[in-house]
């Protein structure tokens, strides 16, 4: 015990000091924290845009901002939230921090590349910020041609270049994870003993590797057309705008799974830890991650049902899109079956996990509705679509991200956060989220189109509900920000395993030493082995 106390005093946070030791670090745990700082900045920037959008929509008349300004607001909200927050969020912060710990390795396979990825991310973010400060971009986050290449007078190139650069960060992170998971596992840690978090990140990495380069070439072509009038997408120059949509969605639909697959990985960890039970259907959950990654590449055409795509292609893409619901449902059913007869505790991470399961189910089922050709034509480009993808991205990915942050925060910082405030904020996030986005389903079904700054008066009640919900949601996001920072100095010290969870990351001190483990671990049992290792390790 005294040996453990002695080791706690020297960990990855205090092993070296000074700004330089952070900016030149090769430690995956420190790089995870660098990412955390970056993505938190973009989250609040994107959130500020959302605040202005919801303020404008509180009244039917367009009275707060000009129509052009509104176009820039929703564009920058989407760009910041999708590319600079959601895509890196769970993989680059939690994945970076946890994957080597979970597989018993000293670091990722390529630590310098990992640091380079962070710098690439920050440089890409710099371009996007520069564009935003100079007036932003008004094309929508989808950059549809020929508007983006020929007609828009805003900072398309700077923003697109930022996304192009950021893409390499995403690619290199995925590459690093795949090599690490293949080559760096501890002795005895076979593929089917891996935590499901690792499986989910493996599937995510495959999408990052295969999808992101296609976005990169698409952005290059947009830049070539905008700068040099080399006609690729503009019909006036002999190009085909639908080709842009094919290339863009070939990446950007799978990108949704870059956001939600790691979230599902987090939920698998939380549900088992707080049910104190072996996960139900381990292999099915593992393979369903891979199935989602593969199927995700075959469904991009469902964004183009109304873009002159042939009816036959539409039918095929419709059926394939519905198929994604199968592996997604497998996960939801298996988490629910894991809860069954578990000894459930209601700690904050579990509240987020249960919230995720409910909200993701609503987001997923409305996705099946949208995959149906007839319904999609009716609600195309309405708030129904907006509500659907916010249920997946905010109700799904951000809930899981926050759940994961609350679960691993004691491991990351060695400190505990206040239980009351964290449970209160989890509740506020859940209530605020539903109040914000459920009315948008109704608005969309009634025919309110997205991307307009004014609307007919009969939609006001639902819009006011949505804006009120956004306020609650915003406060729910600010509270954790405050107590997380507070806990770093004043929080109670965490033991190595405060939740009594299994998994290699809990068998090393909190915070872990620089090379993660005092003695390199070996593994001789399956993941989530709660029967052999009961919760008596809670006092480590």
């Amino acid at each position: 015990m005294s040996e453990r106390q002695g080791l706690r005093s020297l960990n990855y946070l205090n092993a070296t000091v000074g700004l330089k030791s952070w900016l030149l670090t090769k430690d995956h745990k420190r790089i995870g924290i660098l990412y955390l700082i970056g993505i938190t900045l973009f989250f609040f920037l994107g959130g500020a845009m959302a605040v202005l959008i919801r303020l404008e929509l509180a009244t039917p008349a367009g009275d707060l901002v000009q129509p052009d300004t509104y176009n820039r607001l929703f564009t920058m909200h989407g760009v910041m939230m999708i590319f600079f927050f959601l895509i890196p969020s769970i993989p680059a912060v939690l994945g970076n921090f946890l994957i080597p710990l979970m597989i018993g390795a000293k670091d990722l396979a390529f630590p310098k590349l990992n640091l380079a990825s962070w710098y690439i991310y920050m440089i890409g973010g710099g371009f996007a910020l520069w564009a935003m400060l100079n007036g932003g971009v008004d094309t929508g986050w989808t950059f549809y041609t020929p508007f983006s290449t020929t007609f828009s007078n805003t900072y398309v190139i700077a923003t697109a270049l930022g996304i192009f650069i950021l893409g390499f960060s995403s690619i290199l992170t995925g590459l690093n994870f795949v090599v690490t998971i293949h080559r760096m596992r501890a002795p005895g840690l076979t593929w089917f003993r891996l935590p499901l978090f690792v499986w989910a990140h493996y599937a995510t990495s495959l999408i990052q590797i295969l999808g992101t380069p296609v976005l990169a070439i698409t952005i290059l072509l947009v830049a070539a057309e905008r700068l040099f009038h080399i006609g690729i997408f503009d019909p006036a120059l002999g190009g085909d705008p639908v080709l842009f949509q094919h290339l863009f969605w070939f990446y950007s639909h799978p990108a949704v799974y870059i956001m939600v697959l790691p979230a599902m990985g987090v939920i698998s960890e939380l549900v088992t830890a707080f049910s104190r039970k072996r996960v139900f259907g381990y292999k099915l959950i593992a393979f369903s991650s891979i199935a989602i990654a593969v199927l995700g590449f075959l469904v991009w055409g469902h964004h183009m049902f109304l873009s002159s795509q042939s009816v036959y292609a539409g039918v095929v893409f419709s059926v394939l899109s519905m198929l994604v619901a199968v592996p997604s449902a497998v996960k939801v059913f298996n988490w629910t079956a894991t809860l069954y007869q578990g000894s459930i505790s209601w700690d904050t991470p579990m509240l987020y996990a249960l919230g995720f399961i409910g909200l993701f189910t609503i987001g997923g089922l409305t996705g099946v509705m949208l995959a149906t050709l007839g319904i999609d034509i009716h609600v195309h480009d309405t708030y129904f679509v907006v509500a659907h993808f916010h249920y997946i991205m905010v109700g799904g990915a951000i809930m899981a991200y926050l759940g994961g942050m609350h679960f691993w925060w004691p491991k990351i910082t060695g400190r505990l956060y206040p239980a009351f405030w964290s449970k209160l904020s989890a509740l506020m996030v859940f209530v605020g989220f539903n109040l914000t986005f459920f009315p948008q389903f109704v608005l969309g079904y009634l025919g309110m189109p997205r991307r307009y700054h004014a609307y007919p008066e009969e939609f006001q009640v639902l819009n006011v509900m949505s804006s009120a919900g956004a306020t609650v949601l915003g406060v729910g996001y600010l509270i954790p920000m405050v107590y997380f920072i507070w806990s770093m100095r004043y929080g109670k010290r965490a033991s190595s395993n405060p939740w009594g969870a299994v998994g290699l990351e809990w068998q090393t001190p909190s915070p872990p030493p620089t090379f993660n483990f005092v003695d390199s671990p070996t593994v001789d049992h399956e993941a989530y082995d709660y029967t052999v290792r009961p919760g008596d390790q809670k006092v480590a």
Partner: protein, 222 residues
């Protein structure tokens, strides 16, 4: 713990347990990177397929404007450079440092010959007003926009390929210097093998570009 630190091989990074593990990780990483490159070029190949289908006559006419002799010469040069690159990897495997550097320099020289020929070809296109943009002129019977689309893709595809060559040559220069200094050993020369894979990949991209741009449609009777 202490025995582990004393027996660690030279050149073994801290995160790995053995040189074998480091070598496997390095190769897997390189192969995955090449997969991303295939997807990157893949977007352009998709555009080529679509626009060739839209503008068949223009593409046939455009491909007749390219110099097959120079293209074939460049193909031979590039395949030759892949041979010298493979020989450099062999020299590193058997631990002959000067020979490794020499073969890398030969590879660089052949790469520069390729780029030089490319400059001659590009200049001829400029002079014949075949560079896309406001200065483009097409006197033939085919629609000018169709032929221009061929040259859009010709310059984008060969330009992106040339950019990969330039980056590759830059990295090979560093590699030659490292090889000369004796950084590589028969046990650890992952960097040479990784660069070799990259160079062969760039070569293979050209093996696809040459027939698509220079040869396809030449016998279509147009």
């Amino acid at each position: 713990m202490s025995s582990e630190t004393t027996t660690r091989a030279w050149g073994l990074d801290h995160q790995f347990d053995s040189l074998e593990q480091q070598r496997e990780a390095s190769f897997l990483g390189m192969w995955i990177f090449l997969v991303t490159e295939i997807m990157f070029f893949g977007g352009l190949f998709a555009a080529y397929i679509l626009y060739r289908w839209y503008n068949h006559d223009g593409f046939v006419a455009g491909s007749h404007e390219l110099d097959v002799t120079l293209g074939a010469f460049n193909t031979a040069v590039l395949i030759g450079s892949s041979l010298t690159m493979a020989l450099a990897v062999w020299a590193a495997q058997v631990g002959r440092r000067k020979l490794t550097a020499l073969y890398i320099l030969l590879t660089i020289a052949l790469g520069l010959v390729f780029l030089g020929v490319k400059v001659i070809e590009y200049r001829a296109k400029f002079e014949h007003h075949l560079f896309p943009g406001p200065g483009f002129e097409w006197p033939g019977p085919e629609p000018a926009a169709s032929v221009e689309m061929f040259f859009n893709l010709y310059f984008l595809m060969t330009g992106l390929h040339a950019l990969h060559m330039i980056i590759g040559i830059g990295m090979l220069l560093v590699l030659a210097w490292l090889a000369w200094r004796g950084v590589f050993s028969p046990e650890n020369h992952n960097l040479v093998e990784g660069m070799g894979l990259y160079w062969h990949f760039v070569d293979i991209v050209w093996i696809f570009l040459f027939p698509l741009l220079y040869l396809l449609g030449r016998n279509a009777g147009a």
